[in-house]
């Protein structure tokens, strides 16, 4: 059969028929959706470990768990090349301004994963009168996905990354943009 393009300016009815005919072959989506699909499948995390959880983050990238299967293994040493910050470890009060600076240095669009109890709420180090840590990463920046555990297993981190990928594909941005 094939699609016949009428000469001259098409009427609305003709356009509708055209779209119907092309539907099996052409996907009409917003460019942003396509971009999000690309972004979700090639996350570049920043090489950045704070404490114990960082070891599990490294384990996730290594031989057995192989984060490369999900397209998120290109750990970048520079924040300017990264679009994902995996907050792995305890954020101390001395470190908090540094984390904030790193986050600000990352270009938009960017996402973050709070890995482990420490970055969710202060975790094991939170108690009345505690003086040394920031009680959760959300005190200083936006967090997209929380992965609980102390430390979370590599499978948990992978699940967190997959959740984030879903979220990116749907084009959703939550919370503050800071």
């Amino acid at each position: 059969m094939g699609v016949v393009v009428p000469a001259g300016r098409p009427t609305d009815a003709e356009l509708a028929r055209l779209a119907e005919d092309a539907a099996p072959f052409v996907r009409l989506a917003m460019v942003e959706d396509v971009l999000n699909l690309c972004r979700a499948n090639s996350l570049w995390p920043i090489t950045f470990g704070l404490a114990c959880c960082a070891i599990e983050m490294m384990a996730t990238g290594m031989a057995k768990y192989d984060l490369a299967r999900f397209g998120a293994e290109v750990f970048r040493p520079s924040p300017r090349q990264a679009d994902l910050m995996i907050l792995a470890g305890t954020i101390s009060r001395k470190m908090a301004p540094v984390v904030q600076t790193l986050w600000d240095q990352m270009p938009e669009p960017k996402w973050s994963i709070a890995m482990g109890g420490c970055t969710i709420s202060g975790g094991p180090f939170k108690y009345p009168g505690e003086y040394a840590i920031a009680e959760g990463a959300e005190k200083i920046m936006r967090v997209d996905v929380h992965v609980p555990g102390c430390p979370p297993r590599p499978e948990a981190l992978i699940a967190g990354i997959l959740t984030l990928e879903e979220k990116i594909k749907q084009g959703r941005r939550f919370g503050r943009t800071r």
Partner: protein, 378 residues
Amino acid sequence: MTAQTPTLTAEPLDTYTLNMGPQHPSTHGVLRLVLTLRGEKLVHVDPVIGYGHRGHEKMAENRTYAQFLPNTSRQDYLSGVIYNNAWCEAVEKLAGIPVPERALVARVILAEFNRLASHLMWIGAYLLDLGGWTPQLYTWDDREAILFLLESVTGSRLTYCTGRFGGLSRDLDADFPARARVVLKKLKDRWQEYEDLVEGNVIFVQRTRGVGIFTKEQCQSYGVTGSSLRAAGVAYDVRKVEPYGAYPRFQFDIPTRPESDAFARYWVRVQEMKQSVRIIEQALEQLPDGPILTERGLGSKKRLKLPVGTQYYAVEAARGAYGILLVSEGGTEPYRAKFRVPSYANLAVMQDVMPGYMVADLVGILGSIDVIIPEIDR
């Protein structure tokens, strides 16, 4: 020249300052080094620490002895079993709690496996620092085998908390020795591969030979311990000098090397892994039957009260001598707990060692001493 003329003589004009860290892929966490350079030469190195300070020592005063147990394995998370055992042993010693034979030997087995895992991780990370990606995949593969084994006993991969006052919370199961031997066999088959891959590598040898030399005076002045000290020709190992737990029963050597350079530290760690395998093999042979926790069940007793006193207890952790100074005033909580962590001294000595080297050697030297920053910052 009038008094108002601004002078810049405070800083010699031919040097400049470079900030490295706290986020730098080769600082193993959150260390910051303020470098003063003349051209490419290091003139002054000033480590800035504290970016991982979590207040463990204050926490210890706010927790009962048992509640503090999980914290110990989060200080040096790469040798969590050793730290966990050390806390238990320090408390046991002050409280006079007996430990069953089986638990003593099982602690040694777990601790040595943990030491192996820690050294393997170090080898991978160090070679990555020097630019080699591949060895890391091998060492992590071996490490995962060990972690799988430890997980079957302790239930966790990294932050172990199996120690109890008076033994261990879980027993080694019946097929543990068989599974452990499989892992040991796998490791032993790998030694040759590591040697070929690393020690025969011209780039590695050239980048590590003759850099980062510690003198014995520096080691004494800073209290350097662990593999870094042994690579400087001093056979100091707490397991031998002040034997604790079940260590006196086992035969093992202390590898030393006189050169004290980064290569020597690599070599010593590899030899130490072989000795750890040797210890585990003997321990598996000698593993006695019997209970794993003392009858008094102090492992779960929450209101454990310790007699008044100050107690120092030292063990050999993966990075050197780890010491716990425990002050008890007779309560259910420590009055004060101080942790003498090996990385602290091993990093502090860098101020003296580094000046004079090229900036390109810095990562090679820093990596070779194997520091864990949250342990230093506590």
